[in-house]
């Protein structure tokens, strides 16, 4: 049994796949004259490819069609975004989501009153008045408590921008997908 090196095998494979230049092919064919083992290996490789190519088609014993129930169960959340009725209204829903985000974070946050903002930051809920007894220790604790909570929230001025960006990206993405789907469907009619 002849032994052909892996590099020679890759060369004859490249020749069989028409991937060698004319010069390389000629050089390899010259070697075939001097090295009959290599020529045999090339012939066998070509035969092997033809044999594989001639392999008969194998068919499943049963049809692999999916029934409606299986399809219904297989539908994931992505299907809601593309198939009717949800998919038809997706760009409009995206736009509405964008406006809601803008309203909620853009305008709604600015409407919060000053005492509410203080409460949000974890300060004492007692009304601030000149008559209220001032406990320096409590005031210190309140300030200390408010720091981590305030630090964990994003900057209020960034929220509207973030909301609008998410909404716009969602709207643009869904509109692009919807338009592509409609275009293919129009051309297929």
């Amino acid at each position: 049994m002849s032994t052909i090196s892996l590099s020679d095998m890759s060369l004859i494979q490249a020749l069989a796949d028409n991937e060698l230049s004319a010069e390389q092919s000629a050089s390899l064919r010259d070697r075939f004259v001097r090295e009959p083992d290599l020529a045999d290996a090339f012939t066998e490789l070509v035969m092997l490819r033809e044999l594989m190519n001639d392999m008969p088609v194998v068919r499943p014993a049963r049809s692999l069609r999916l029934d409606r129930q299986t399809m219904q169960q297989a539908r994931g959340w992505r299907w809601l975004l593309v198939s009717p009725p949800g998919g038809q209204f997706m760009p409009a829903l995206g736009l509405v989501a964008c406006l809601c985000m803008a309203l909620l974070f853009g305008f709604g946050y600015d409407q919060v009153s000053a005492p509410d903002q203080i409460r949000l930051k974890g300060a004492v809920s007692a009304p601030l008045s000149a008559e209220a007894p001032v406990d320096p220790a409590a005031a210190t604790n309140a300030t200390a408590d408010s720091v981590p909570l305030a630090a964990s929230q994003p900057e209020p001025s960034m929220l509207p921008l973030l909301g609008v960006t998410i909404g716009l990206v969602g709207t643009a993405g869904s509109a692009r997908w919807w338009l592509r789907l409609r275009k293919i469907q129009r051309r297929s009619v």
Partner: protein, 203 residues
């Protein structure tokens, strides 16, 4: 702009809610899908199950399809076969008593030959059986590549998409797979039979 292929039309119709369109895709590709599963796994029942699961998975993820349907589907199938082979390796479910002959019989039963000459028919059937069994003896990643290239007739680019490997890796795996198959064929002294068959084919 290029016109949408028939696959794209069927995919968009399926996404628009026409379930029959997806079943048309199933009918179009079920032999290829089953063929890949069968040649990868060497077991008819397991191949049918994996092929069915692959179509269900393809349907589930259809909304995320970008590009051509065929390589995308074959990638799902190749991954499913790889998972089954890995799982079988970890938890072998086939009895150790199962002989190679049984595997060969299982393969032979699947392959129909329409050659009218009985002797040649037998020779070809034996040859195809030997190839199928030889395929099972090479590593799965090499097996996938050689099946897709030499049986399914896919290009290197398509195979790279299906396997998720780059073209250099595809070529290297193909090279190793063919070298290994050639070794098996030489050891089994099959090439003289092939030469005889080719000589019979020539006028």
């Amino acid at each position: 702009m290029t016109a949408p292929s028939e696959d794209q039309i069927l995919v968009s119709a399926a996404l628009a809610g026409d379930s029959d369109s997806f079943n048309q895709l199933v009918e179009r590709y079920q032999n290829r899908v089953y063929g890949l599963c069968f040649r990868m796994l060497g077991d008819a029942d397991a191949a049918a199950d994996v092929a069915q699961d692959s179509f269900i998975s393809a349907y589930r993820h259809l909304p995320s399809l970008r590009g051509e349907f065929r390589p995308w589907l074959m990638r799902i199938v190749a991954n499913a076969c790889r998972d089954v082979l890995r799982s079988n390796k970890r938890h072998p479910s086939v009895s150790l008593d199962t002989s190679a002959r049984e595997e060969e019989d299982s393969l032979a039963l699947q392959i129909a030959d329409t050659n009218p000459n009985p002797e040649e028919h037998l020779m070809r059937a034996e040859l195809h059986r030997t190839i199928s069994v030889a395929l099972l003896q090479i590593p799965p990643d090499q097996r996938t590549v050689v099946i897709l290239s030499d049986i399914e007739g896919m290009s290197y680019d398509e195979i790279a998409i299906v396997t998720g490997a780059n073209i250099g890796t595809v070529k290297s795996r193909l090279n190793r797979a063919r070298a290994r198959l050639r070794e098996i064929f030489v050891a089994a002294e099959l090439f003289p039979t092939v030469r005889r068959l080719i000589a019979n084919d020539e006028p």
